[in-house]
């Protein structure tokens, strides 16, 4: 029996994957790798709610794929080439349709550096129009960061240069299945892209939505708050956040995130009004009641204060 037959059969039979595990190491690896299917033809791998480390192999972001009649779209390839290969194996365990699109929600190293795993598929690589500039500026820095945090586990990690850039909005057709892509003004980053599976109303938010894990502002907090309104206006049936579980209704998930971002704005504006310096603001603005609501709060909150304070100090 040729491996490709096993994978094809497993993909069609779905539940039979486990039965083939004994004869196909490929399928076994894919089967061990946790994957949820929140809607028909939509698959999500949930990353750990942790900082990247050798323990988790940098597998800390949510990754997904959507299977159409003709082909498959991958939404974020993960924090290393190795994670990208696990994602590809998981796809191959479920379908033999080609990977035609590799979509970046943004350039952060936990999301976009598993791309080499898909090189042989020659997908159209899709990004926000500002992605190439961001990648150009950050690539070296992120690759060093992956080396530092993952060592050998991060070998070969890189982000592909996009071949299709989205300025505002575009629809991709996977064969009987359309994905709506929206490129947003500066919010979480200056190149956030979301993916809406129109058939199931599943919205892949990238890091425009964090669930349970504290949001990180690497763009503009005011822009982010505005984009949240627009994402809710898309009326998604469900959301796949960049980090965190899938079990929250969209309105509740965005409301929690909005509350934290709004508290940053409120606290930083008050500090600026009172003439509190940046150094003192970082010390004093402890997040109050928000602190107990988020994982990794102490790892990122002070940095968020720095970012939001320096954004808002230019307000009229």
């Amino acid at each position: 029996m040729r491996p490709v037959d096993v994978r094809t059969a497993a993909g069609r039979a779905g539940m039979l994957v486990g039965l083939f595990a004994a004869v196909s190491a490929f399928a076994a690896v894919a089967d061990d790798w946790p994957l949820e299917s929140p809607a028909d033809g939509v698959f999500v791998h949930l990353g750990a709610q942790a900082l990247a480390s050798p323990d988790n192999g940098g597998d800390i972001a949510n990754l997904g794929f959507v299977i159409g009649e003709r082909c498959v779209a991958v939404i974020d390839s993960g924090g290393s080439a190795s994670i990208g290969r696990a994602l590809r194996a998981a796809i191959r365990a479920r379908t033999d349709k080609p990977v035609c699109y590799l979509i970046h929600t943004h350039v952060h190293p936990d999301h976009a550096f598993g791309d080499p795993a898909f090189a042989a598929d020659h997908p159209v690589v899709v990004s926000h129009a500002a992605y190439p500039a961001a990648l150009a500026r950050r690539r070296d820095h992120y690759r060093h960061g992956i080396d530092d945090s993952l060592g050998a586990l991060g070998a070969g990690s890189d982000s592909a240069v996009p071949s299709l850039l989205i300025d505002t909005r575009q629809t991709l057709d996977l064969g009987g299945r359309r994905l709506r892509l929206d490129a947003w003004p500066t919010a979480h980053t200056d190149h956030d892209l979301t993916v809406l599976d129109e058939r199931t109303g599943t919205l892949f938010t990238g890091d425009l939505l964090f669930v349970d894990r504290v949001p990180i502002v690497d763009g503009k907090v005011l822009g982010w708050l505005a984009v949240i309104d627009e994402l809710l206006a898309l009326k998604p049936a469900r959301v796949v956040p960049g980090h965190g579980p899938l079990n929250r209704p969209p309105a509740a998930a965005f409301a929690a995130e909005r509350a934290y971002l709004a508290s940053l704005v409120r606290d930083c504006r008050a500090a600026l009004r009172d003439g509190v310096s940046l150094a003192d603001a970082v010390e004093r603005l402890d997040g109050g009641e928000q602190r107990s609501r988020w994982q990794l709060f102490d790892d990122y909150h002070r940095r968020n204060v720095t970012t939001v304070y320096t954004e808002l100090e230019w307000e009229p």
């Binding site: 500026r137 950050r138 820095h141 240069v161 503009k220 940046l278 720095t306 970012t307 320096t310």
Partner: protein, 290 residues
């Protein structure tokens, strides 16, 4: 009579320090370093010290003259807030005339050379720096009697110079040169007042490699800053890209009955920017030119 700022050859000093740095840049290739057990950077301080101060004595940990506040671990290596605190008031008899802000392990360690006068009121300065790797940050205060006094802090942060600082580089480029003055009042004649100058500028290090073009983005930063109150200099500085994007300075000046704060900034493209703010006793305000 106090020196005026125009007499201080700070530009020369900065060049000297940079020359010292360039001379030391070859050190990492030498075998002695390759044999070092850890990747800890070469101690550049002896070269830097020699280039800037020769063999003049430097008193360390003299809190009566100068202290330095910096976070032990920085949240954002591209925006590390630091505060220089003077232990003495600026009087015509005794005052700090120069503050050297050094970041040992940065590609360009001389972050800023500030010049002050008795009209500065107080030689406290807060700003934000980039930190490329774990480093000592130092401030050396030179008094008007020529003595040197140093305070230092170790800061753990990395990637602040070669990293993408800008959250939105397109906007930063559009806004270059916009400035804002702010005075936290009420202002009282004869009592040192706090002012803040924010300059919108990419302050680009020139150390970010564009992976697509394989070219480094050109360095583009503010190099000279002059602030006057009532026509008299209160703060001027030679600065470079170790100062964060959107350079920001909190400093003091000594208000009289009536006067205007005026700031002038020159960047590495020789573009000049200027802003003004009228300050009256009892006044609280901010100025944002269009």
């Amino acid at each position: 009579m106090a020196d005026t700022l125009h007499c201080r050859p700070a530009q020369t000093l900065l060049r000297l320090a940079l020359a010292a740095l360039l001379a030391s840049a070859v050190l990492p290739l030498q075998p002695a370093v390759a044999d070092a057990p850890q990747a800890s950077p070469v101690d550049i301080w002896p070269k830097l010290r020699n280039g800037l101060f020769g063999d003049r004595p430097i008193r360390e940990d003299d809190a009566d003259v100068v202290q330095l506040e910096a976070p032990a671990r920085a949240e954002d290596a591209a925006t590390v807030p630091i505060a220089i605190r003077a232990g003495l008031p600026q009087t015509p008899e005794r005052y700090i005339r120069t503050l050297y802000l050094l970041v040992d392990n940065n590609p360009s360690p001389v972050a800023a050379v500030f010049e002050l006068t008795p009209d500065s009121g107080r030689a406290d300065i807060e700003t934000r720096i980039r930190v490329e790797q774990y480093t000592d940050v130092r401030v050396i205060a030179e008094l008007n009697d020529g003595t040197l006094h140093m305070a230092r802090r170790h800061v753990k942060a990395s990637g602040g110079c070669s990293a993408p600082a800008g959250k939105d580089p397109r906007e930063a480029a559009r806004n270059a040169g916009r400035m804002r003055f702010r005075v936290d009042g009420p202002v009282e004649a004869g009592v040192p007042a706090v002012a803040q100058l924010a300059v919108s500028h990419p302050n680009a290090s020139g150390l970010v490699l564009d992976q697509l073009t394989r070219l480094y983005e050109p360095a583009y930063y503010v190099r000279r800053l002059t602030v006057r109150y009532a026509g008299k200099p209160v703060l001027s500085a030679d600065i470079d890209f170790s100062i964060s994007e959107n350079p920001n300075f909190r400093f003091h000046f000594l208000p009289t009955t009536d006067g205007e704060l005026q700031a002038e900034v020159v960047d590495t493209r020789d573009l000049h920017f200027e802003t003004r703010l009228a300050v009256k006793p009892g006044h609280v305000g901010a100025a944002v030119p269009p």
